[in-house]
Symmetry: C2
Subunit: 382 residues, 2 copies
């Protein structure tokens, strides 16, 4: 927030538009984007902004951001929460809503989510419901949130019945994805976010997956390929969201790898020491391709290629990679049945006919899933 004004129109920033009619917004991607946040957020026309952040990110970035907003004439306040998935609770929703109201955020004002996916989901949900909806801006600070949760308007908290079971579709008014913030991201979090990047190639863009295979080391190292990977991921997600904002159809494709992944997160009780979301997704992507191969839908070599790449990037790829184990087949099936993507009682999977050729497969019989998981849990596979 101390750079000269000329940086504000830095041509190296990439703009990804999300054309959702009267809810359209831009995602700005690039090194140093957050330093231009003051004027960009001010240009949305609010009089006040409540910044929601956590105890990791807040001490680094909240005060400069608040200062930059105040320099633009906005009233700014900061709400700081504990880090971690447990923060997405009813109690913290109440705390954030009441703090936003105490900050006298009116209709037309803004909530700014400054942090990873937990902060974005919680602050976005609070913005969706305070005064029945105020605007919000996402400033995602992790790779995972930059390429996934900050785009598309899904917000929410966890219930004792499962993750993200209570929430709202509420689109942000602006997303600022500063790729320089990832320079200090722990490697494990970088890898976890990368699983979602690779996912976009696996869904419907074999070329992008091949590009990832060739460039993943530069993405991790912070070269210009990182900006392009984030931007392309946002473009891919935006394209799906524009087709199906409220997840009545195509948007389910984004759940490639997630039916298995969520089940693993549930079984490990969301204990990030054992498994973080992106790691569950990495294993889930490999399982989805191997399941597709087992069903005769997808060439074995494509499933092997998925595993080889994620493994090269340092991600887990098999059930046996879950520290502490992943329980029995029955436990896995039970955990999958609780996913909120269940409709009419039948399990829906995202399967693939090959890399970049995923499709929604509703009504997959439990017997087929069971025999696949049995084979995955055989010692010979691990």
């Amino acid at each position: 927030m101390t750079r000269p004004a000329s940086r504000r129109d830095d041509p190296s920033f990439i703009t990804v538009p999300v054309p959702l009619g009267d809810r359209a917004y831009d995602i700005l991607v690039g090194r140093g984007v957050v330093e231009t946040a003051g004027s960009r957020i001010a240009s949305l026309g609010a009089r006040a902004a409540a910044i929601v952040t956590d105890e990791h990110v807040g001490p680094l970035y909240a005060a400069p951001l608040a200062g930059a907003l105040e320099a633009q004439g906005l009233r700014a306040s900061v709400i700081t929460l504990p880090p971690g998935e447990a923060t997405k609770s009813y109690a913290n929703l109440e705390q954030v809503c009441d703090a936003v109201l105490a900050a006298r955020i009116e209709r037309g004002d803004l909530v700014v989510a400054l942090g990873g996916g937990v902060i974005g989901d919680l602050a976005g949900f609070a913005a969706a419901v305070v005064r029945r909806g105020v605007r919000f801006v996402q400033v995602p600070t992790t790779l995972l949130s930059q390429v996934d949760s900050s785009v598309g308007g899904k917000t929410g908290i966890n219930s004792r019945h499962g993750k993200n079971l209570v929430g709202a579709f509420h689109q942000p008014s602006l997303v600022l994805a500063d790729t320089a913030l990832l320079d200090t991201l722990p490697l494990r979090e970088m890898r976890a976010g990368y699983a979602e990047v690779a996912k976009y190639g696996l869904i419907d863009d074999e070329r992008f997956f091949a590009w990832c295979e060739a460039n993943w080391q530069s993405i991790f190292a912070g070269g210009p390929e990182r900006d392009e990977a984030v931007a392309q991921s946002c473009r891919a997600k935006a394209a799906v969201v524009v087709r199906d904002e409220h997840e009545n159809g195509d948007r389910a494709l984004l759940n490639l790898g997630h039916t298995f992944g969520h089940a693993l997160e549930r079984i490990t009780r969301y204990d990030s020491a054992r498994l973080v979301h992106g790691e569950g997704v990495a294993i889930g992507l490999c399982l989805a391709f191997r399941f597709s191969a087992a069903l005769g839908l997808c060439p074995e070599k494509d499933a092997e290629r998925v595993e080889a790449h994620l493994s090269a990037a340092g991600l887990p790829t098999r059930l046996s990679h879950v520290p502490g184990g992943c329980g029995t087949v029955d436990a896995l099936l039970d955990a999958m049945a609780q996913d909120k993507k269940v409709k009419g009682g039948a399990l829906t999977f995202i399967l693939a006919r090959g890399i970049g050729q995923s499709f929604i497969a509703p009504g997959i019989g439990a017997d087929k899933v069971r025999s696949f998981l049995d084979s995955e849990l055989e010692p010979s596979r691990s």
Copy 2:
């Protein structure tokens, strides 16, 4: 729910359509409508329904409604909450959301709000956020909820910063307003609901107000005029909601009487022993017309006519009618400034040029409000 099927197409039911595009729905008004609820709700195509009700209404109607739904092949469950405004809390939102999830309500299933405005607002909000939105049906059991809160999609709970400050716009899929349920409604609640009926005439329909003056006793007694009054109120509200679903403009007209009314509710700490919402609105309507007259906008005789009619119907009409008093002018001004309809710091009132000629008046100076309230609090006016 025991009537013969022929009753299901009873021509005496009045259908009020709410044409909101892909969120369009019907309001059915009439004596015995709730007895046809099973087949009507089943026709929405859900597999399960969670009925949310309170300890007053539940024992009378929840079991028959659940039975009627089960007879139509739906899985039905009942969630019962304490009655009263305090139920619209974060804690009860959590309770209802978790109970709806425990009842395995999936996307495509239904929440049914069976009760007055408190239940409708809370259950509707839970439906808006469980799985980021499931459908819901309103079965309003009070006059107030039949003519006001069940129509238009406003849902929410109260914050320590004020009423309805946390919520969502979420339209029901069907509203069943059974006017026979009002036969056993306490007179005070009937009167409170009637204040909102009269309001629709005052907003933009002088003929309806005159009809109310001529027919209010039949409305209270349960004649066919009651059905017509409920239906006409719903039509009037629906017309405004269709023009401005998210309250960016015209919908504010529905707040006629409410800026004053909400302030009185806040000052009496939502203590229903002292003042219920409709009583606050009745006083607020009289104040809005007298304020309009004091500003030279509206003939004195129209303000007198409003007061004469509401007084005849047994409603309070003056600040001095608030049991325990309404505090000082400063306290009233302060309470008004906290209303969520504040925008950009300025007070917005709904004023009138006469009966049926209300309009939105933004930016009313505090000095004018103060001198009007001073005159209202003079002993000679009480």
